[in-house]
């Protein structure tokens, strides 16, 4: 037997001129993800509704993919039938049986009919479904205001019957928003930032600065695990690991103590700037949030940003830490982010870092450091890892 899913789309429907393009992106994303998972599948697209059919034994994996693909607003396991009243009612009983077996009792029925040749109107069909379900299952109860489940019947090119849809990621299909280079650390914030931009349709590549032996192999493994989680949402992604030890030592040696963190961030931004055009990206994404740590003040953001003319997207900028943590928990990155292999950068961070950088003054300090050759060298030595 096959598992048949109805896919609801949301924001794509708001697109007018280029809707087709978004639809094709979503289709190719779904195709790619199902194929990667080794699932034979069939995707059908009708206006406003997509459908995917997979073998029953792949149902769990298919649901995992559907719940994590940007552009999918929701999905529901559905029964596809011919457009006769009897067939629709029989399907409704099957849908109700499954929900009742989970102990859900109070229900309502909702119908939509785009094919006006169907013998019953929407209201009549809903009433009829209620009637047959009540007849078949004495424990079922109709509850129009606080139902525990809803039986949906849609009469379109065919008839579909399904219960409540599971939520999807919403947003826009990956690739429709271009490509972003995500600065990925081992912390809580950056994976969430990546997730948020993937949801806006960005495909991602990620950049991690590895300061071995100051940061451990475990810290790098942790970042790879985070990238893997991210890729379940964002699709295929590339992780760049840039060796940053030499640059960091140079900063430590030659920069003024209170500027070390700033100089390090400027150097990182510069490496990102150099990498962006090479990978065909068009922006930089960071997990920065105003005021979170001393280095993240508006003055300091201006300074780090001055090293690139690509837009620096900071989706967490206005978010409260607790919101970010909750989101990290939801997407499954939190438990990995809090593993204790932090960057040992504590030895590098000054006790009293510069809070309000002055653009000209600090730019001069940065230029005097002459980091650029080290950064270029570091980028040349970067490791490229494809994560799927």
């Amino acid at each position: 037997m096959d598992a048949f899913y109805l896919i609801k789309i949301g924001e794509i429907l708001l697109k007018l001129g280029n809707r087709k393009e978004f639809e094709n992106r979503l289709r190719s994303q779904l195709n790619e993800r199902f194929s990667k998972a080794g699932i034979t599948h069939k995707i059908e697209m009708y206006p406003g509704r997509y459908f995917v059919t997979v073998p029953e034994e792949n149902a769990t994996d298919a649901e995992f993919i559907l719940s994590r693909t940007p552009g999918v607003n929701g999905y529901a396991r559905a029964i596809k039938t011919e457009k006769t009243v009897d067939a629709v009612l029989a399907a409704a009983i099957e849908v109700a049986r499954e929900r009742l077996s989970r102990g859900l009792v109070r229900f309502k029925a909702e119908s939509r009919r785009s094919d006006k040749s169907f013998p019953l109107g929407s209201f009549e069909l809903s009433a009829k479904i209620g009637e047959v379900v009540l007849g078949a299952f004495p424990q079922a109860k109709v509850d129009l205001h606080t139902p525990e489940f809803t039986i949906n019947a849609e009469i379109r090119e065919r008839a579909y019957v399904f219960a409540d849809a599971e939520p999807g990621m919403r947003g826009l299909p990956v690739g429709s928003g271009g490509k972003g280079l995500l600065l990925l650390s081992g912390g809580i914030d950056s994976p969430v930032a990546g997730y948020m931009m993937a949801r806006r349709g960005m495909s991602l590549e990620a950049l991690y600065f590895h300061a071995y032996p100051y940061t451990s192999q475990e810290a790098q493994d942790k970042v790879i695990r985070l990238a893997r989680i991210l890729s379940t949402y964002a699709g295929k992604l590339v992780l760049w690991t840039v060796p940053f030890t030499e640059a960091q030592l140079k900063i430590k040696k030659d920069a003024r103590m209170d500027l070390t963190t700033l100089m390090m961030r400027m150097g990182m931004m510069r490496v990102a700037h150099l990498l962006v055009p090479r990978i065909g990206a068009n922006c930089i994404i960071t997990g920065e949030s105003v005021g979170q740590v001393a280095s993240q003040t508006a003055e300091n953001l201006r300074l780090t940003e001055s090293l690139t003319d690509y837009p620096v997207l900071r989706p967490l900028c206005g978010m409260d830490k607790e919101d970010t943590v909750n989101m990290a928990k939801k997407i499954g990155s939190f438990d990995i982010s809090i593993l204790p292999y932090e960057d040992c950068c504590v030895l590098f961070s000054p006790k009293h870092p510069m809070l309000k950088a002055k653009l000209e003054r600090e730019t001069e300090a940065y230029n005097e450091l002459n980091l650029e050759p080290l950064l270029v060298e570091a980028l040349d030595k970067a490791e490229r890892l494809e994560i799927e």
Binding site: P213, Y214, S216, L249, P340, C344, L347, F348
Partner: protein, 400 residues
């Protein structure tokens, strides 16, 4: 690999392990079985027990107390510590004592330290005694911590990070004195002797302790086998029950080959004691003078000198101020040298900081820069030199 992490574990004696494998196959009977195979296995087990006992009773030559085999040093510690819960239960039942109190130290191995925290969480009162700045616990401070209701005192024999040798016999006397002042008999005194076996002369019977824990893999024996020595007149009521093996203290079918190999390793360690000690002293002196020649680096505690009788020469803690010990360990590992930051068992834990070193009053930042170098009978002077050169290089390059 230049292996200088002998306090974490030792390269097993391949001959002993090979013979042990043969014994595992030949004497496979269950020692609790009454048939010939079982009796055979039992005789191997008992022979191993007598052999190990002979090593432990080097000073007393007695046959007092009894020795049971366990699954390792940590398990031996756990049996002794958790038995206090049975004591607490009995005391509550007969209403004799309202509270139970335990005295231990801030420098114990996690096997005792974490177990003590568990007992605290379960409602027992705990006192943690700090060491002096030389890493040794003052016996009088242990005595001062003993209260009327103290049921157990636990102090390790040799610290696994600093090599500091604790004055176990003096502590035993001090405890007895303190208890007598309350008109009580001496509380149980458990000693984690895992780093003492084969490294100092330690006879639990002569030291006057109630129980002591040992481990085979620290003296080139196999993993997964340890021992708990229990004095006569200080019975332990274990928490884990089962088939009554090992005098009821450690249920589970015995590892014949493990016990046998442990006894052989202990015997070999005892026979080579003087030679190993002489080598360790030589290596210690070379290490200490080499460290003194690296600008900034220092041995911890800072007063330690070569041949210092307060420390086991096999273990040395060295601080490299301005460079995290963890970072140096990684850098040395890349140069083919194995050392550690401290107890391998606590370097995995989430508890941050360096408890043992900090307890001696060393500032946290300095403590964080410490590594542990530990040697053994296969260590050579050339290896010490390799280490000194690599550490000196890495320190110069990575110091921040």
């Amino acid at each position: 690999m230049t292996y200088l992490d002998w306090a974490a574990t030792t390269p097993p004696d391949s001959q002993i392990l090979a013979q042990a494998a043969g014994i595992a196959v030949e004497s496979f009977g269950n020692p609790s079985s009454n048939h010939k195979l079982g009796l055979e296995a039992k005789s191997v087990l008992e022979l191993a027990r007598r052999q190990l006992a002979a090593v432990l009773y080097a000073q007393t030559h007695g046959e007092k107390g009894h020795l049971i085999f366990t699954g390792g040093g940590s398990e031996a510690d756990a049996i002794a510590l958790l038995a206090v819960l049975r004591q607490a239960m009995n005391a509550r039942r007969d209403g004799s004592i309202k509270r139970l109190h335990i005295v231990t130290t801030e420098i114990e191995h996690a096997a005792v330290y974490e177990e003590a925290h568990l007992l605290k969480a379960l409602g027992l009162d705990l006192s943690f005694v700090k060491p002096e700045s030389d890493g040794r616990v003052d016996p009088q401070k242990i005595a001062a911590a003993v209260e009327k209701d103290t049921a157990l005192v636990a102090v390790m024999a040799v610290n696994n990070e600093t090599g500091a040798i604790q004055r176990i016999a003096e502590i035993a006397q001090a405890i007895t004195g303190a208890a007598a002042a309350f008109g009580r008999k001496s509380p149980r005194f458990h000693v984690d002797a895992v780093q003492a076996l084969g490294k100092i002369a330690f006879d639990p019977q002569a030291a006057g302790v109630s129980s002591a824990a040992f481990s085979a893999h620290k003296i080139r024996g196999p993993r997964g086998v340890g021992a708990l020595w229990v004095a006569d007149g200080a019975p332990i009521e274990p928490l884990a029950l089962g088939g009554g093996q090992e005098a009821g203290l450690r249920p589970g079918t015995e590892s014949i080959q493990g016990a046998w190999a442990f006894a052989q390793a202990a015997d070999a360690a005892a026979k080579s004691f003087d030679a190993r000690m002489a080598l360790a002293r030589k290596l210690e002196a070379r290490l200490l003078s080499g460290i003194a020649a690296i600008p900034g680096a220092l041995a911890l505690p800072s007063g330690r000198v070569a041949g210092d009788p307060r420390y086991s020469p096999f273990i040395l803690s060295i601080a490299f101020p301005g460079l995290s010990g963890e970072v140096l360990v990684r850098a040395l590992s890349d140069s083919g040298i194995a050392v550690s930051t401290g107890s391998a068992c606590s370097s995995n834990s989430k508890r941050s900081g360096r408890r043992v070193i900090e307890a001696m009053g060393v500032a946290p930042r300095l403590a964080l820069s410490a590594i542990r170098v530990s040697t053994g009978d296969l260590t050579t002077c050339a290896e010490i030199d390799i280490f000194l050169e690599a550490a000196s290089d890495a320190y110069r390059r990575l110091k921040t």
